[in-house]
Symmetry: C2
Subunit: 317 residues, 2 copies
């Protein structure tokens, strides 16, 4: 973060016509944007969303309520403007782009071996890096990939321990025997790839869109672009970065906590609080795009409010 921008933010905020601290987390948000954009006042002139899509070998094991061809169908829906993320990006003025990564080549079944080869991992990581536009002043990260709450659960379990059942939820809506099967798949993957370093865990249990999310998060840090993370899959994908380096996600905020129960557990493990808790479990970056509204409100307050002196309002008596 940029110390001069942070100092400029901290000099202005207490002069605004409100009791100190009374805008709660909106104050944190405008300060965070200023610090990581490296400028004061912070602005949202060019927020962008990048949705990464990939397919998963484990989908063939019956871990999702939807068939795998839905990934490419939903990518077409994004491109035609029909999905939830399109509506939310339009509402909050966010430029959306979808990055499909080898949808015709699902990852390998991670219960049998690593999901990705080293070359595949590197290509997906690079796709994430390349997707971050240098001129952006905010990056909203989302994903699409039928079956991908299974790698998310496996990653979280491998990084933080506990039982597979603690980290595995219904995803798009699996029930009963299918949920039990999903838990078995997660447990088998974690057992198969035990003891690897964090980025090797991401290669073994992740998928192309998850690896790209990690790459985009690293690139955003280089380009001074603050990042809004979406739900369980996005958070699990970048958790490996924090395992490598504790401050790796300081330029990120988690936009919302998903209805997927593993996400709340993962946020606790990461020591972070979500901005929204609305029972969303769609993915696509939908919760992160929604949280752009909060950021717009936070910036409007910090940048636009009168000071006590300007308004002739008496400060605390």
């Amino acid at each position: 973060g940029d110390a001069a921008a942070a100092a400029a933010w901290a000099a202005r905020e207490p002069r605004l016509t409100k009791p100190a601290g009374s805008l709660g987390r909106l104050e944190d948000l405008s300060g965070w944007l200023s610090t990581w954009q490296g400028r004061h006042p912070p602005r949202l002139d060019a927020p962008c969303a990048r949705i990464f899509a990939g397919n998963h070998g484990v989908a063939a094991l019956g871990v999702s309520a939807f068939p795998a061809e839905v990934t490419v169908q939903m990518v077409a829906n994004f491109q035609h403007g029909g999905a939830a993320i399109n509506q939310l990006c339009r509402t909050f003025g966010v430029a959306l782009d979808v990055v499909s990564i080898d949808l015709d080549r699902p990852t390998a079944d991670f219960t049998q071996g690593p999901a990705l080869s080293e070359a595949e991992f590197a290509a997906a990581f690079q796709a994430g890096i390349d997707a971050v536009p240098e001129g952006a002043d905010l990056l909203v990260l989302g994903e699409m990939g039928i079956g991908n709450t299974t790698p998310a659960a496996a990653l979280a379990c491998a990084l933080y321990g506990g039982e597979a059942a603690d980290w595995t939820g219904r995803g798009t809506g699996v029930e009963g025997g299918a949920l039990a099967r999903k838990i078995e798949v997660v447990a088998a993957g974690v057992a198969r790839h035990r003891g690897l370093p964090p980025l090797e865990i991401l290669r073994a249990l992740g998928g192309r869109e998850l690896v790209a999310l990690a790459g985009a998060t690293v690139a955003a840090r280089m380009h001074r672009v603050p990042v809004l993370l979406d739900g369980y899959v996005v958070t699990a994908a970048v958790a490996a970065l924090k395992a490598v380096r504790p401050d790796a996600l300081d330029h990120c905020r988690v936009a919302h906590v998903s209805a997927e129960p593993g996400h709340r557990r993962l946020l606790a493990a990461l020591g972070t609080e979500p901005l929204l808790d609305l029972g969303l479990r769609l993915g696509e970056g939908s919760g992160a795009a929604l949280a752009v509204g909060l950021l717009r409100g936070a910036l409007a307050c910090h940048n636009g409010m009168a000071t006590f002196d300007e308004a002739g309002v008496s400060d605390k008596g």
Copy 2:
């Protein structure tokens, strides 16, 4: 609510390209707007905010960190566009108006007698009714009044029982001895006016802006205008309506839970969940204006998303 509008909403929502229920509370919000606007699709063409301001006899007892003249100073700040609520209303396209009610006549000290006479109560209630424009399609309710978390705490305690300390918080920032004094004032008011019916409790312990908030909430129901309630003071003001009639607040949603601890307790007593939990404690309708962003996102999704048929996406397998 309007059954035909609710049915039209319920017919469309499950056909949208997402797993059933995956937009969580956004789905509830678009359905709620449709039901209470009495139309489908729901729209936000004319959302308006009304901020009621009043002064309080108890302010002279040292219950606030700010002097009482700040009420009129902040009203001027609203009129000149310098407050947080101005920035938030501009951000989310909400038409703001401020209604000051007899700022030069504080209420009576409620530890000595009723805060308002019957005539004063009626005038304030009518001011609330008159402030709701018939053409509005959403009403954001907020308030300003130095010292008014004290009547809010007293109202909540009188309506729901418990100790004064359970309902009394720091407001704009009282500490130590001043907080102890505030708790004593709340306890004395509740003891002085024990056993009254709900609207008489509102007259005895409330204030002009609180009574006007109740009047506006009733008027909105008549005009089919859904209402976003703000923080502790607004929720306490309308709680008396629910005590009179259990469905009286069905056209309302509570936008956020305040950092004021009594608010969370009050929401539990009312059996409602806030939309946002961001540690705000400013009042002015700031949390409710911020939640308009969530409503805009919810409407955009319900009204704008493609259906499974339109997008050629496979439904649940």
